[in-house]
Amino acid sequence: MGRASASGRGAGLEFRGLRRSFPGTGTVIDGVSAGIAPGEFVALLGPSGCGKSTFLRLAAGLDRADGGEVVLSGAEGPLARGFVFQDAHLLPWRDVVANVALPLELAGLEKPVARARAVEALEGVGLGEALAKFPGELSGGMRMRVSVARALVAKPRLLLLDEPFAALDENTRHRLQEELRALWRSLPMTVLFVTHSVSEAVFLADRALVLSARPSRLALDRAIHLPAERSSGLRTDLAFVNEMKAIQAAFDRGEGG
């Protein structure tokens, strides 16, 4: 959390008594309040079906709450928010550069400008070699990198990710986690990362929010005390395991109730 107070250039996000229900499913989110400071990296955890994705859609402004409100500060305009989905969800008829340039084009930027910035974003995720490729020609890990570049191309103040690495193999997943953490440290943005993996949350985030099973409430709000700079050696560190234990315990409690 040290960096958060120092920078303060990302978006601030606050959930106030958030409630959401769906016809047929009933109440999914049952009164959740939490604040996320500008520049924080927060992981949102919970058992499957607990409404993590709903939560993220509410934060993105893609869904409306039935009660309570989402207050977003410092993230105005069509390019202030970036979103990474569970799968890459690229446009198969656009090459890699055109896919990444898409948000800028939709916001009305000139095509050459948008393309130049897309190339820059792709180089940032290590895909400078694959610019002219089409999504169908890439591996799953590369597609997800393109997806991350697309979310970052507009330098968003708020980055929302919905279990983006869940479908990847472990090596690729670990590498992308390290890269995402490094990217966040170099950019002025707030990150809300949804995952069901405790180890992923601990490795990436500075704070974990754990939701209980549906109808979900906040089961735990805990700062993760690990060094800001994180490398793969950390995963076997005792401090890392202890952080995991604390979160896993809340996870298990939440699943019961």
Partner: protein, 255 residues
């Protein structure tokens, strides 16, 4: 080279066998040649009257193509309208389905009354039979847009036109082509049915050869019409391959 032979040979064998045995059965008199002409006679009719057949095929092909293009334009526009509004879909889709069940052979005389003996009737007939599959298939494609991508467009506040032209329509391309593929075969059928009533083209050749008891010429015209249908499908396939080869699984890995 060997793989090409391996691919072409299996479907060719039954064809050659059928043609050979048909020729044999007619030659030895087991089949009366006024009911089933020998393949050599059919080919002879095609060659002897090649000018007439070429003109007729061009006329039928042109009408079918015009009908298909009209279906494509009208069908795509209607599918777009139906896809944006629940109300429009509920109001008009039942009639589109009803429209499809009306047999074209029964409608053709009405078309002659409206459009007279000639090309407009034939084009209208091709248009009517090829319209529905194009509407249905395009609509299905437009409605199956990836919801995550719709979210992405909304997140960046894309306008309705951007959503249509940059997301929904390109996403529907494979289904649009499959509608066109079905529609192209039907357009040839529609054109020939129209020509039965309105005259001209291969339909007209079938009709007049029938009254003249020229069974070989009837068969030759039938053969020419299926070749025409195949040709139209081949054109659609070519365009489909060119536009989808980089991205769609159905066209990837093909030449």
């Amino acid at each position: 080279m060997r793989s090409r032979i391996a691919r072409v040979l299996p479907p060719l064998l039954p064809l050659l066998a059928a043609i050979g045995s048909l020729e044999f059965l007619v030659r030895v008199g087991a089949l009366p040649s006024f009911l089933v002409p020998a393949p050599s006679e059919v080919l002879g009719a095609l060659v002897d009257d090649r000018a007439e057949f070429a003109g007729a095929a061009a006329s039928t092909g042109g009408a079918a193509f015009l009908g298909l293009v009209s279906s494509f334009l009208v069908g795509t526009a209607s599918a777009v309208l139906l896809s944006v509004s629940d109300f429009l879909r509920r109001a008009f889709l039942p009639y589109a389905v009803f429209f499809q069940t009306v047999p074209i052979i029964a409608v053709a005389p009405i078309l002659v009354i409206w459009f007279g003996f000639g090309l407009p009737t034939v084009v209208a007939s091709a248009f009517i039979v090829s319209l529905f599959p194009i509407v249905a298939s395009t609509l299905l494609g437009l409605q199956s847009t990836d919801p995550a991508l719709l979210d992405l467009f909304r997140l960046h506040r894309a306008g309705a036109l951007a959503v249509l032209f940059r997301l929904r329509l390109p996403f529907a391309l494979p289904q649009i082509f499959s509608g066109l593929r079905i529609g192209s075969g039907l357009a040839v059928i529609g054109a020939i049915v129209g020509e039965f009533i309105a005259g001209g083209g291969l339909g007209g050749v079938v009709d007049s050869a029938r009254t003249l008891q020229r069974i070989d010429k009837v068969f030759a015209a039938v053969l020419a019409s299926s070749l025409l249908g195949l040709g139209l499908v081949a054109i659609i396939n070519r365009v489909s391959r060119l536009s989808l080869r980089r991205w769609h699984a159905s066209e990837r890995g093909r030449a």
